[in-house]
């Protein structure tokens, strides 16, 4: 297996592999999201307590779940980069962080807009909301550190350390609704028991989750390809690639 993986430590092989994946990821993400969101917006039944406002769940929950999932992926890339010094992993940190930051922003924003009619407030300094806001700052910190040094390897190392230290925040976000009294409701689907949601609402949510996963992967592909080109701009294969 390690022999099979080895060429992907080099930029060009990874760039080509991602290029083969990108159109499929993009196409399937657009298709899945269109089905899931239209189903959720128009065809799922209204909630008996929250009426139609609950439809925000179809972007809020996938964005929130993948804001944490993406962070975990970034921390794994940082671990690989710090332990094995693999440059592709360093670049993955830079590729993943902006995508995660946008997902976190979406989770926070849709949460606030959902909170206004349901809780009567846009924002509350409670555990779940605050820890998710810290996640946004961690992402921004990783991006800033990565670009803060004229030597990009130093920047990647600094960003990687922050990414690894910050991973402690991920379980805090997940368990915050159990550890502290919170306005935020408990887990609906990310638990081991039966999901506490009607099937007619759950199926479009699962489709949206799949769509967000594919979309996140497509964005990371796009940005990692760009980062590989940026780092290897002086190589002849990059010049040939960009001349087309």
């Amino acid at each position: 297996m390690w022999r099979w993986l080895h060429p992907y430590a080099k930029g060009e092989a990874t760039y080509r592999l991602l290029g083969r994946w990108l159109p499929w990821l993009t196409g399937s993400a657009v298709l899945t999201l269109a089905v899931g969101l239209i189903w959720g917006l128009l065809y799922a039944p209204p909630d008996y307590q929250q009426g139609d406002s609950y439809r925000i769940i179809y972007i809020h929950v996938p964005a929130a779940i993948f804001s944490m999932g993406t962070y975990t992926a970034m921390a794994i890339a940082a671990l690989i980069a710090l332990v094995w010094q693999i440059r592709t992993a360093e670049w993955a940190i830079a590729a993943i962080a902006p995508v995660g930051a946008v997902l976190t922003f979406i989770a926070l924003f849709t949460g606030a807009v959902w909170g206004k009619p349901m809780w009567g407030t846009w924002w509350e300094w409670d555990a779940r909301l605050t820890s998710e806001l810290i996640l946004l700052f961690l992402y921004l910190g990783v991006i800033a550190l990565y670009h803060a040094f004229s030597d990009s390897r130093t920047g990647a190392k600094a960003a990687g350390i922050l990414a690894l230290v910050g991973v402690v925040n991920v379980p805090i976000i997940h368990y915050s609704v159990y550890w502290w009294n919170s306005l935020h409701q408990g887990a609906t689907i990310t638990k081991f028991e039966k999901p506490s949601m009607a099937t007619s609402m759950l199926i479009p949510l699962l489709i949206c989750l799949l769509g967000f996963a594919l979309m996140t992967a497509a964005f990371v592909c796009q940005r990692l390809r760009n980062e590989i080109l940026r780092q290897e701009l002086h190589r002849s294969w990059v010049q040939q690639e960009l001349d087309q």
């Binding site: 917006l41 039944p45 849709t110 940026r230 701009l233 010049q239």
Partner: protein, 68 residues
């Protein structure tokens, strides 16, 4: 469909503003992320072109010096 007409879809049972605001801002944020990626590639293309021109200029100058 759980609505009987587009007016009801826009109204969202009185929550239209909140539902469509969250969907709109989400779409805008994702579009911005995608456009930023495309712009980055375009600017890399320009940088690569400049670099190639510089290399060619250097090579030409070296040749001139040698022929002198």
């Amino acid at each position: 469909m759980s609505f009987s007409g587009w007016n009801e879809v826009i109204n969202m049972g009185g929550y239209g503003f909140f539902v469509w605001l969250s969907f709109g801002v989400t779409l805008a944020a994702l579009a911005a992320l995608m456009i930023h990626g495309l712009i980055t590639r375009r600017s890399l293309q320009q940088q690569s072109k400049l670099q190639q021109q510089r290399q060619q200029r250097l090579a030409r100058r070296k040749q001139q010096e040698r022929s002198r």
